[in-house]
């Protein structure tokens, strides 16, 4: 009798278990998609400051700028002038450095303006420039292959790059900083120990971030994404507490979303230079001359103010040797 009661109880238990399982299928997880290729990066080695070439900001001494349309015979500039257009390697998705205006579709931004200034100096016409759209990884190979005359693409001057290509004096002094929601109390990376922070995969910024420690002794949780705008999306979706990369790009975030703010002290300096093929030293000196002239005659200030708004800081002085 006991055994039969047990069997009945067991059968009932199984039946009831079956019922309750069908009624409550466990807790529901919210669906939160992340941008394509977003990954948590661990153990990225910090980039050691490379000073093998001395100060990477030092470039070749500029030559006096020739009049537009009168390039020295036999020079690289004369070859470009004969071709009828300057070919510039650039990106088309980095607000506010080089991007297509969503309304007009025209390529615009800080880098585009400087490229157009180069064309103006060669041809007297800023529109005589043919852009070649390339990824960051293609910058140096395209220069070496000769498929572009110069690269104006948020390229930080480093000794490693100067060993392979020619780089101009600094045309914009960017710095790595953080962007957070405007309502966030965070003002520096030190407050982000153990918190998710977004950066761009394969950049020096992400390595710098990984080397940071919060005041609680923990490193931030580094989330790497492939494109600049992916960090903006992750910030807007609340998937990360902050994003860090060049302040030029972060300024673009804040321009497009007023609920975001760029904050904190610079984590690293990112001086931008224009890249040219290593053998074209005449072009490099020419570029340095044009940059010096724009810094002196107010063109530089107009371009920077037009890009970021407000009153720009004084331009970085050109440093030269050789």
């Amino acid at each position: 009798m006991r055994a039969r009661v047990g069997v009945v109880a067991a059968v009932l238990a199984v039946l009831l278990a079956g019922c309750s399982q069908a009624a409550a299928p466990g807790p529901v997880e919210p669906v939160r998609p992340a941008p394509a290729g977003a990954t948590v990066v661990t153990g990225a080695p910090p980039a050691a400051a490379d000073t093998s070439c001395g100060d990477p900001r030092v470039s070749l001494t500029p030559t006096p700028e020739p009049a537009p349309g009168a390039m020295p015979a036999g020079s690289t500039m004369a070859r470009i002038a004969a071709r009828g257009a300057l070919i510039v390697g650039i990106d088309q998705s980095t607000v506010p450095l080089s991007y297509r205006d969503p309304r007009s579709g025209v390529l615009t931004g800080l880098d585009v303006r400087f490229a157009q200034e180069m064309a103006r100096s060669i041809f007297g016409d800023p529109s005589r420039v043919r852009f070649r759209i390339e990824s960051s990884a293609q910058r140096i190979p395209n220069l070496l292959a000769g498929s572009v005359d110069m690269v104006v693409q948020a390229m930080t001057v480093t000794c490693a790059r100067k060993a392979r290509i020619g780089m101009s004096s600094v045309y914009y002094d960017a710095a790595q900083r953080i962007a957070v929601p405007a309502v966030s109390p965070v003002t520096s990376v030190a407050q982000l120990g153990g918190r998710p922070v977004c950066s761009i995969t394969g950049t020096t910024s992400i390595a710098t971030l990984a080397a940071e420690r919060g005041t609680n002794g923990q490193p931030p949780v580094v989330v790497g994404v492939p494109e600049n705008s992916d960090c903006l999306v992750m910030l807007q979706q609340g998937q990360v507490d902050a994003a860090t990369t060049d302040d030029t790009i972060l300024a673009g975030y804040a321009l497009e979303d007023r609920r975001l703010a760029v904050r904190g002290e610079p984590l690293a300096s990112e001086p931008y230079g224009i890249g040219v093929a290593p053998q074209n030293t005449d072009l490099l000196r020419f570029v340095n001359g044009v940059l010096d002239r724009t810094k002196a005659d107010g063109t530089w200030a107009a371009i920077v103010a037009g890009t970021f708004g407000g009153t720009p800081a004084p331009p970085p002085p050109g440093q030269y040797a050789g």
Binding site: A22, P25, V28, V31, R32, P33, A34, P35, A36, G37, I90, D91, Q92, S93, V95, Y99, R100, D101, P102, R103, G105, L107, R130, F131, R132, I133, E134, S135, Q138, P226, E227, S229, D230, L232, V233, Q236, E256, D257
Partner: protein, 453 residues
């Protein structure tokens, strides 16, 4: 009668029923003795064996018929339509991906028809999801259906965020669209594929059963054995009683014969039609649908490269990979054409391959334009609906594949329906004919047994 009486052999106790055996075992032993050693006994044994064979044949034929019928009915009413629904789900999602990207690229110039296409895709996906979900039972709460039901609104939300941002002139709209597309590809499409694979496997199983099998063979053997037994019985009666015809036994033979003919024709037709549904329908259909999906996704890759304003990168690599898989030697379209044999389906597959290969040159031109800074021209070419434009050439591939997909799906559905019809009355026929045969045996043999009294 006395002569017959004398024919009864003296009772020899058989091994099973020895002197010490209990009463029922001894009786059984005696009966066995009678069955083996007397004429009447042998007739009774033969008749009983024949009856048993007839009944066995009937049961086996019934089982084979019911299994075939259930499977072919399942193909028509369940696994066939569910496979189509799962296919529709996957197709609608892929198409949504491509049309959302194109609409985004066109921006203000997006024609209402393209917007409508995206919206129809979402509605299609929702409906197909409901059909697949309602059939997947308790798995619906955890399996691919759950992923899809919870993910679809999130996807649609991301696409609308992208559109809204773009409308306001914010460049990060493109990032939202890429996120939406990546979510669709990484989460929703694999779930839809899983659902489709499950349904396609069920369809294959049903087709394998409807195609005949062990039970059908067993039934066939049993029916033939029963026929032979009936013929032997009839001959035995004819020899021992000098009757040329025993009507009951002959009726049993006729019934079994009819059952054999009917069964072979009906089950054979069902098997042949099911095989045709599979070979000319669902098998090439599966290849064609895979090709159709790959076309849509490579199109999305092309469009998203432009949306992302990237110079090549992951989308371009994916495009190249898919194009090789589609149009390359022994690619999806070659496979589909080979599966289809010859005829309009193979022609459509060839057309798709030819036009698609030409489309790759259009794509190369789009990339060249984009990389050399002529973004607007690249977009215009990629979206051009002219026969030699990006959208135009993809549309021709899609149209050819759609025709082939529809043809094979119709073939599969029509043949499956015919296969189902072929066995409609067979189950009742089996029961009636088996009973007729059994009754015929009883009526035919009983008087002969009585004659021995």
């Amino acid at each position: 009668m006395t002569a017959v009486q004398s024919g009864v052999a003296p009772r020899t106790p058989p091994a099973a029923g020895g002197p010490g055996a209990p009463g029922w075992r001894r009786r059984l032993g005696e009966l066995r003795g009678i069955g083996r050693d007397t004429r009447v006994g042998r007739l009774a044994t033969a008749a009983a064996a024949t009856l048993a064979l007839v009944l066995l044949a009937g049961v086996l034929a019934l089982v084979a018929t019911l299994r075939t019928q259930a499977a072919s009915e399942d193909v028509v009413a369940r696994s066939g339509p569910l496979t189509a629904a799962a296919q529709e789900l996957y197709g609608a999602l892929s198409d949504a991906d491509a049309s959302a990207g194109q609409g985004f690229l066109l921006g203000a110039g997006e024609p209402p028809s393209l917007r409508l296409r995206y919206q129809t895709d979402l509605a299609d996906a929702g409906r197909a999801l409901a059909v697949v979900g309602s059939a997947s039972g308790p798995d619906a709460a955890t399996g691919p259906v759950a992923t899809l039901t919870s993910g679809l609104p999130v996807y649609a939300g991301l696409v609308e965020t992208a559109r809204t941002a773009d409308r306001q002139g914010l460049t990060y709209g493109a990032a939202y669209l890429r996120e939406a597309s990546s979510f669709l590809r990484a989460s929703l499409l694999p779930a839809a594929e899983q659902a489709y694979d499950q349904q396609a496997a069920e369809l294959s199983d049903d087709q394998a059963i409807a195609d005949g099998g062990v039970w059908t063979v067993l039934a066939l053997v049993a029916v033939v054995a029963a026929l032979v037994a009936i013929w032997l019985l009839h001959r035995r009666i004819a020899r021992s009683t000098k009757r040329r015809l025993t009507p009951g036994v002959a009726l049993a033979g006729a019934a079994m014969g009819l059952l054999l003919v009917w069964g072979v024709i009906a089950l054979g037709l069902c098997a042949a039609l099911t095989a045709s549904a599979r070979n000319d329908g669902s098998d090439p259909n599966r290849e064609l649908v895979a090709a159709r999906f790959a076309v849509l996704q490579s199109r999305s890759d092309e469009v998203l490269t432009l949306v992302a304003r990237s110079a090549g990168g992951d989308y371009e690599q994916d495009y190249v990979r898919r194009s090789i898989g589609l149009y390359g030697w022994q690619g999806l379209l070659d496979h589909a054409r080979d599966e289809a044999g010859s005829g309009p389906v193979a022609d459509d597959a060839s057309t798709a391959a030819t036009v698609g290969r030409e489309g790759i040159t259009v794509h190369a031109l789009v990339r060249t334009l984009d990389v050399s800074g002529d973004y607007d021209e690249a977009v215009a070419l990629a979206l051009s609906t002219a026969p030699n434009g990006g959208q135009g050439s993809v549309q021709q591939v899609e149209d050819a594949l759609d025709r082939a997909v529809t043809t094979t799906a119709d073939t599969a559905a029509a043949d499956a329906a015919a296969a189902d019809t072929a066995t409609t009355l067979l189950a009742i026929g089996v029961v009636v004919l088996t009973l007729v045969a059994a009754a015929g045996l009883a009526v035919g043999v009983w008087p002969r047994l009585q004659e021995y009294r």
